[in-house]
């Protein structure tokens, strides 16, 4: 099936994926045919992890059946093939992010490891006692805890950008946080708990005026919009494969070459060295310096296939269609009495966090599950966000380009059922 043939031309801001395109796309995802609790699966937990199309599954099978070997080592056929496919995946990621060079792409286990790599490699080398690290109130724990560990180790200080009741960061408060001691900004591109899209380009520019490097957590942005790290001008960008139709166990750290070059290695081992004696080891050049040991070769190649797949549909088409889904879901859920949407930023990704008056999110999740509907309930690994909105947890529906308005209708019916049961 050729998706590109069914994708209509962009028509202004309107969605370019019509029903026929969506039907074809859904056919690519075997898991969407599942029955759960005796009902067709309605998968609305894409911010936690997305599903995998047959094209990526096939790529994994082909790699394992015909191409697998260790990489960067032997001279035999399979090793050379696996190496060239692995490095081809790196180039695909480079183009996906519009990075200047492929050596600026480091494969990691995921966003979390990418952030930890920067904390160890950059933070421990260049952030010291009394220095300040700026984070935002929207961060996922993965972009909080590593910096707290660093702050504790070094005696550095964490500063937090506050947000308003809509879940938008307060830009004036952000700018006021900068002092001569500010040494780093770690910021999420898109909030996983609320869907807020932060004005990262302007925020990066402001940080740079103060000579402060910036890491963007792109876990929630990567699968949903066109990315351009040169345009954003961020110093580091991190994302995960499994949130963009790839497998778990693979993620990416983009870093500007001149920063990566002056950073300390994250882990020691094979592949990250040029020469080893018991007296001295010479580290390899980037990106190998940061890829100790045998990497997740299959997962990296599968990520490359996922990038190809998303590219065929078109990330701008995906973004437009997902916005249409978000608008529709927001309109329908907001119309339900007794339901509050949490996170109402003007610029949002397709994430809808909500609470039903008098019903705990976990009860919502259990009852929706009995209708075949998968949503996330809990604090979304963003407890400070929950504290800001004075809720212990929320229910969160998050949409992907393979979801439909009919599925949103089922969500709304499910919410009504919950309310009926708890009335």
């Amino acid at each position: 099936m050729k998706i590109e043939t069914v994708v209509k031309e962009m028509n202004g801001a309107r969605s370019s994926l019509d029903q026929t395109s969506i039907d074809k796309i859904r056919g690519d995802f075997p898991i969407l045919g599942l029955q759960v609790s005796g009902k067709p699966l309605v998968y609305l937990d894409n911010a936690a992890s997305s599903q995998m199309p047959q094209q990526v599954i096939d790529r994994i099978v082909r790699y394992q059946k015909e191409e697998h070997s260790n990489i960067h080592r032997a001279v035999h056929y399979l090793s050379e093939l696996a190496t060239s496919e692995f490095e081809a995946a790196r180039v695909k990621v480079q183009h996906f992010l519009n990075a200047k060079e492929s050596r600026e792409i480091i494969f990691t286990r995921g966003t979390t490891e990418a952030i930890n790599l920067v904390m160890h490699g950059y933070g421990r080398a260049f952030i010291g006692k009394g220095d300040e690290i700026i984070l935002s109130g929207l961060e996922h724990h993965a972009n909080i805890v590593p910096w707290q560990m660093l702050a504790e180790e070094k005696g550095a200080v964490i500063r937090v950008i506050p947000m308003n009741d809509a879940g938008e960061l307060l830009v004036d408060k952000y700018e006021a946080l900068f002092t001569a001691k500010t040494k780093f900004l770690a910021l999420t591109h898109v909030s996983n708990a609320l869907g807020t899209v932060n004005p990262v380009k302007a925020m990066v520019a402001f940080a740079h005026k103060h000579g402060v490097p910036v890491l963007l957590d792109g876990a929630q942005a990567a699968p949903h919009q066109v990315l351009d790290v040169q345009d954003l001008n961020c110093d580091f960008y991190a994302f995960s494969g499994h949130k963009m139709c790839g497998p778990t166990g693979i993620g990416v750290l983009y870093g500007k070459a001149h920063l990566l070059e002056k950073m300390q290695p994250y882990q020691g081992g094979g592949d990250m060295i040029l020469s080893v004696t018991f007296e001295k080891t010479i580290y390899n050049v980037i990106p190998s310096k940061f890829e100790a040991g045998t990497p997740p070769i299959m997962a990296a190649i599968a990520l490359g296939a996922a990038i190809d797949y998303l590219g065929r549909i078109g990330l701008d088409n995906i973004a437009a269609y997902e916005h249409e889904l978000l608008d529709y879901a927001t309109m329908r859920v907001a119309a339900l009495p007794g339901v509050r949407i949490i996170g109402t930023a003007a610029k949002k990704a397709a994430v809808l966090s909500f609470e039903i008056k008098g019903v705990h999110p976990h009860d919502v999740g259990t009852i929706l599950n009995s209708e075949g509907i998968a949503i996330r309930t809990g604090h979304h690994c963003a407890q400070p966000v929950m504290q800001r909105f004075c809720v212990p947890a929320t229910a969160r529906a998050s949409f992907a380009f393979y979801n439909t308005k009919q599925e949103i209708d089922k969500l709304v019916d499910g919410i009504r059922k919950v309310q009926e049961m708890f009335s």
Binding site: H362, D363, S370, G378, H379, P392, A393, M421
Partner: protein
């Protein structure tokens, strides 16, 4: 899959809406806090134990309907009981919720608490039902004012209880 009406029976919904023994006891001589970091359920238990008997017991905090109803019904079930009898109930409730005790075929003291039998089919919800009981166990086995929260939790981590 459990029928939702079997899990969310009227008695559970009623205890969720109107939890019994809700609040804090001022001069309590036993306290414990139970926290489920995975879902944010948080229970604070206070009670007065004298001569090995639970004289008063109350809970506060927030959690889902299963957790709140479990806490509410637990306080009703153990008030006036000896510490030993309460511990027996803790064990029986745990067994029922995790599926190792079939309350309809094995002698037990669960009585009305059997409405929670349905959670055993919902692995992700077992911990919600058990949290108040873990907290009770902690309160019974600790000195006054010991928190079970965090890494010093003297009871098995409720999250890992039914992975």
């Amino acid at each position: 899959m459990t029928d939702m009406r079997q899990l969310y029976q009227e008695v559970i919904l009623d205890h969720n809406r109107k939890p019994r023994n809700f609040g804090a006891i001022r001069d309590a001589n036993r306290h414990a806090e139970g926290h489920n970091p995975l879902c944010g359920d948080h229970i604070k238990l206070s009670m007065n134990v004298s001569d090995d008997k639970i004289e008063t017991i109350a809970f506060e905090g927030h959690g889902c309907a299963i957790c709140k109803a479990s806490a509410s019904m637990m306080t009703g079930a153990v008030k006036g009981k000896s510490m030993q009898d309460a511990e027996v109930l803790v064990e029986e409730f745990r067994g029922m919720a995790t599926g190792t005790l079939d309350p309809d075929n094995v002698a037990n003291h669960l009585g009305k608490l059997k409405v929670f039998a349905g959670v055993k089919d919902l692995p992700s919800r077992v911990k919600c039902a058990i949290l108040p009981w873990h907290t009770l166990h902690a309160a019974l086995n600790s000195e006054a004012s010991i928190s079970t929260e965090g890494q010093n939790d003297p009871v098995p981590d409720p999250v890992g209880d039914h992975a």
